[in-house]
Symmetry: C2
Amino acid sequence: MANEEKLNINDIAERAGVSIATVSRYLHGRLEKMSDKTANRIKQIIEETGYVPNASAVQLMTQRSGLIAIVAADVDDYFSTEFFKGASSILEAESYTGVLFDTNSSVKREASLLDRISQQNFDGVIMQPISADNEVLQKHIKKNLPVVLVDRETTGGDYDMVVTDNEQAAKRAAQHYRDQGFANVVVISEPIANVSTRTARWRGVQAVYPDAQMIEIAHAGIIGAEQVQAIISQLPTDAPTVVFFFKERLMLEILPHMIRENVLTAQLQVTGFSDTKLARDLNPNVKLIQQNPFLMGASAAELLLRRLDKKATKTQTEKIVIAATYE
Amino acid sequence: MANEEKLNINDIAERAGVSIATVSRYLHGRLEKMSDKTANRIKQIIEETGYVPNASAVQLMTQRSGLIAIVAADVDDYFSTEFFKGASSILEAESYTGVLFDTNSSVKREASLLDRISQQNFDGVIMQPISADNEVLQKHIKKNLPVVLVDRETTGGDYDMVVTDNEQAAKRAAQHYRDQGFANVVVISEPIANVSTRTARWRGVQAVYPDAQMIEIAHAGIIGAEQVQAIISQLPTDAPTVVFFFKERLMLEILPHMIRENVLTAQLQVTGFSDTKLARDLNPNVKLIQQNPFLMGASAAELLLRRLDKKATKTQTEKIVIAATYE
């Protein structure tokens, strides 16, 4: 059709010999007040003309786009893409499509993306928050837009939430090494201040090892060989020590050096949070804490779908805790 | 504001004592026909009331959402998230926001996502195609929606394109080993049929090693230890051999086993396409072909912005080739 772009709902109504309201009802699948003959006639005209309903016009009527904004802290992390895949799998069964936004761990970027999402016709938001305070989020999220938070806990309530049992998982792992007679724990983490997942893990480790050491690294992905060398040379050698990585990417940057330099022994072991199989490929006997980001995303999508179903009813917010495994 | 959701453009016009057209002009930044006094008055009313323009209404007038759909083959691949980040960086400088869709390497999913994108108010599409034929894509992409393809070449023209020089890059790497006296090449790849990047790489290898062997693996990410063992035991040991990985994730699954079992020698080396620093962390002296997905995404965004600028003018399509490095 050369001029299909210019057709509007009027043209379809005229050609089908029905009212605009009837075409509109047809487009929204409300066929109960319409004869099969009418429905078939409209269908035929739409097929013949190649008419595509203007989404903005449809949205003005239905207030539903079918798009769910999924906002990740860093799309380069396997956790982020897996929770996106998990959420998408559930959303799609209900004809919603998840689209991924990346805040790149920036509070400023988070604010501007939420502003944009609020201006557009998204039906809901599933997000891994950067801001630790819901009041900050609320300034940028349109009222009545259903939101589910994933991974990081925030203060201020008001949103459904899906998290890992970070503190318990870290504590269980620490206890395992305490039971085996390990004297020291050295934690390697990105800065823990204001990030609930990391502070919870740190509490878990400290519950078992009150004197645990912490090495903070500004940002995974940019550690040079010299810095890695410096870190390895800092590790205690006088008593059994476990190096506890709070972030998989940090482990994947440092572990290969430890393997190549043969520093791993019965007296120096590594553990940590790790969602891919790479660390185990490198070091088959390592014990790792595995979250389940796919399941976390899927659970978040289920909470969101429940909000979308009964938007009108004000219900209490829910918090789902998905237990990590340690093996 | 308790009832801000119910305010519409009429209410703002009334309160400001101006016409709806004037408010509309203000909302679209067309201030040239308006006194500063009027503009300030509208601004003040909008701030006081907390009025948020209905995006659908604005879109009906402007036909611009500011959203660009970025469609990746698999968001778990570093290549995909990096080209997304590169594209976003350029788009944002022009006030567009990139949002990421995941086809998960499925032709069927690609079709349904493109249908959905076409129904919504996206201003453009940057995609890593799964379908190898533009005619297939055209069935699902709304006419006049600007599209730029990244990474994989398709047949049928009509779209701007940004690709790596896959064939040349593979040939250069193969030549390096030929010059050093390596007798055999064993390629390890996901199935190469209908994927332009892989067939181009294979041509490059075969130009130097006509008898190169190929081991195809159905899907990266799910190789078990036994399969890895079987692959390693198949490698020739009678003459210098290079194992050439066409996909980084395959290298990262197999290389750790090779390192742990000490099979890498002067007579058995590895090389391949690799965009992260993980493989080099594992094996510091390895030579790798590095694409530049961030730059590819950024270049694609620049092509798209040019299309958005002069949509009306029918110009020829462009193809940008970004050279890979080998070091």
